[in-house]
Amino acid sequence: MTGFQTSTDNARARGTRRFRLDPWTAGAFVITAIVALPILTVLGAAFFPTENIWPHLWETVLPGYIISTLELMTGVAAGTILIGVSAAWLVTACSFPGRRIFQWALVLPLAMPAYVVAYVYTDILEYAGPVQVMLRDVFGWTTSRDYWFPEIRSLGGAIVVMTMTLYPYVYLLARSAFLEQSSGVGEAARTLGCSPWAAFRRVSLPMARPSIVVGVALVLMETLNDFGTVDFFAVQTLTTGMFNVWLVMNNTGGGAQIAVVMLIFVIFLLVAERAARRQRGYHDTSTRPRRPVRFDLRGGRKALAVLLCAIPILIGFIIPAGLLISYAIEFYDVSLNNRFPQAAFNSILLAALAAGVAVLIGLFLAYAVRLRKSTLLRNLARFASLGYAVPGAVLAIGILFPFGAVDNAIDGFMRGAFGISTGLILSGTIVAVLFAYVVRFLALAYGTLEAGLGRVTPHMDDAARTLKHGPAQALIKVNLPIIRGSMMTAAILIFVDCMKELPATLLLRPFNFDTLATYVYQFASDEMLEECALGALTIVAAGVIPVILLTRVMGRNRSDQEISVV
């Protein structure tokens, strides 16, 4: 059974709500204010530049940056939707050999830092790499002038690399949406004469669309803020342009102005996402999911399904991991030293803390928005999520200044009042790094949990309220058990992303402090992939374990009691 009622209808039915400052609203205001601080700092720098080079930028490089950014985003969006959605549907709705393995293995590329994948494929596909060497041997070519070979360091290369490392976002969110759909829906569609494909297109896909849209929005924000890959592949995007102006030209105003252009991109994305969600009104009302029924694939279709699931894993994970392993073995002595375990510990601790804090805050915001149904709150929460789309280094600068100001203000006050210097309390500590992670990845928590809560019918809340549960109790007793999967998804996405985070960590960290990412970067920044292979592998491994955990948690309820019908 599926109830068709939109939450906006629901709000309207209750009439216009007067603005009240209850704990949920007040809390949401405070949180968004703090989280938005770095972005507001950047905006401030953009609108009050010391030396205005906007006209110069606009006349020279900016249009080019915008065009290539749009091309990159279009390519990556198309690629991730194609791979992510089709793979998610295959592993949840179809039955074919290896399905159980594919359903978790498809997430593996998420653990690969995109810049590492970029390095790996450059190593493999460049002139001196094994592929071209073999081609030259076979065809007797001698120099690069004798033949044409696709240039990996190009816009196309960046689209492929980013698609292969980012599609798991779409896959994960689409899969959890497909899983949370009661299978009765699919069955009903089938009894009404739909083919499996039609059932997917007309029922499953529309119901999963909010989640898919969230996934694509996340992918595009990651694409927008990526620096490592586009810089390495020499693609001139807004991000590389901003780095040039901000940190090479040392022009804060100009850099911030390009950052604002990027924010406009993001706001456009968020509006599009919201529009896509507004059109839907599907809530799954079945209380107990029925046992899933999978379409048994035969013959050519079976092979096609296996191939479709295997290729992204091969390109996004197995090949890069294989090359890293071979380097790690060869350069074992260079890479392993006493700083390594400490760096690993720091990474895991920070990533776990950040994941915990971000999920709590994201849950608070998403639930506050659901409770109050306030457009203002919703927009505030979305604004707080903007940190995700801002490149890490810019976010870090946006954190440095308010933190420094607060520290110096406290110090000044304490000196004046008590003659004690407190020095820097927050700046240059792991609190600053942690704050950066939470600001940066809150969007993952908020987006995932908002989508998760969106799939819980408001009738559930109403039912809880009739049992005299307050909002907090309703959240814990009713909503949390239902969206547990979404919470785990959010926590793991954030954990893995924090493990990979580099630019903000570099700039905000305390003295003599390394994470695995900064440790790897020392070598990777000099294109010495061999020496950093072990560190990179550890980042991957630390990401892989929770990823496997995640897919097990998500699939547990259903995968061990499956039946398959023709």
Binding site: V61, A128, S144, F232, A234, V248, L424, T429
Partner: protein, 347 residues
């Protein structure tokens, strides 16, 4: 609910606090460094310093944004010294008012006047020459001897460089502006852009590799990369494919950039910071630096590494580092105006 939330927060706060205390527990004899130079390059020097003086060196390394951090931290910044390559960054710290002058007899004796700021706001530690690498097979010796010739149409489709807005190329262009002015510098860069074999990409070493691959015949790169490639088994063939040219600019000599050190305005450990500065300019550290990273020592009385000595002596360009720093902003605008990073096929 309230208590559970509190408990969760406490769980998060406890380990955070532990780690923070562990890290703020600093010893008295220490000096804090913000370094744009990688740990592996500076660590042997700092270790030697600690061994000699007992003063601990704490380091934050980042390639971007440390100036912003210094600025944001203001008068309470823990940093004593900034370590960096490229005159542009040294000048940026000075221009932001974040440096303080240091003058000691030892520093002024070791560092020639041309490679330190007049007031003592920064001191050069090593020198790096920006060279032209040419293909051993395809370019005869003497076919190119100056930076100006990089724009000569005879090299159409045969030149490789890293991105135009990289600090090393910006400094080179700024020196060119110093001799010829902005208009001619723009024409020069336009000429090089037209000569490019491919879109600017990769680091300096990647350009030499491109020579080996036959992608280009002429590349621009810093001198010490030759030494680094010779030391690396995989990269040795790249180095072997190229000859080094010490080019001239306006008939004067080879463009040189510096790596340097400066004291921050609010340095809390001033005495130890001066100790470290003097140590780094000492004959011992200069010779260690020269051999670890194959850069030219700032002290003319210290010998470079045997490899560098084997390349022989060469004249240096005469444009002052101050002029280069001043022309940087104009140089970056020229790179954008020309659209250098977009590659050869565009206009």
């Amino acid at each position: 609910m309230k208590y559970r939330l509190l408990a969760a927060l406490a769980l998060i706060a406890a380990p955070t606090a532990t780690v923070m205390t562990a890290m703020s527990a600093a010893s008295a004899a220490e000096v804090n460094v913000y370094s744009y130079r990688q740990g592996a390059l500076v660590k042997p020097l700092f270790d030697a310093f600690t061994k000699e003086t007992g003063v601990k060196v704490n380091v934050v390394f980042a390639k971007k944004g440390l100036i912003k951090r210094l600025q944001a931290e203001g008068r309470n910044s823990p940093a004593d010294l900034v370590f960096t390559v490229d005159i542009g960054r040294l000048a940026a710290v000075v221009n932001a008012g974040l440096a303080q002058p240091v003058k000691t007899a030892a520093l002024e004796k070791a560092v020639p006047a041309a490679y330190r700021e007049a007031e003592g706001l920064w001191y050069g530690l090593t020198l790096r020459a920006r060279l032209i690498y040419t293909s051993k097979d395809r370019v005869s010796k003497g076919a190119i001897t100056s930076y100006e010739e990089l724009a000569d149409p005879k090299w159409r489709g045969k030149v490789c460089t890293r991105k135009g807005d990289h600090a090393y190329n910006i400094a080179m262009l700024a020196a060119y502006i110093g001799h010829y002015g902005e208009a001619r510098a723009t024409e020069w860069l336009r000429g090089i852009k037209a000569n490019l074999a491919r879109k600017p990409q990769g680091n300096d070493r990647a350009q030499v590799k491109a020579i080996m691959e036959g992608v280009c015949d002429v590349a621009v790169g810093n001198h010490y990369y030759m030494a680094l490639m010779l030391k690396n088994a995989k990269q040795k063939p790249w180095a072997a494919s190229a000859n080094l040219v010490f080019p001239t600019l306006a008939g004067k000599g080879t463009h040189m950039n510096v790596s340097g050190v400066m004291m921050t305005k609010h340095a809390p450990n001033k005495a130890n910071a001066i100790k470290l500065m003097e140590f780094l300019t000492s004959k011992k550290a200069q010779s260690l630096y020269a051999n670890v990273n194959n850069e030219y020592p700032i002290d003319p009385n210290v010998k470079a590494s045997p490899l560098l000595e084997s390349w022989g002596k060469f004249p240096r360009d005469t444009v002052s580092l101050d002029t280069i720093a001043k022309n940087r902003s104009a140089a970056l605008k020229i790179v954008n105006t020309v659209g250098y990073n977009a590659g050869p096929a565009t206009n």
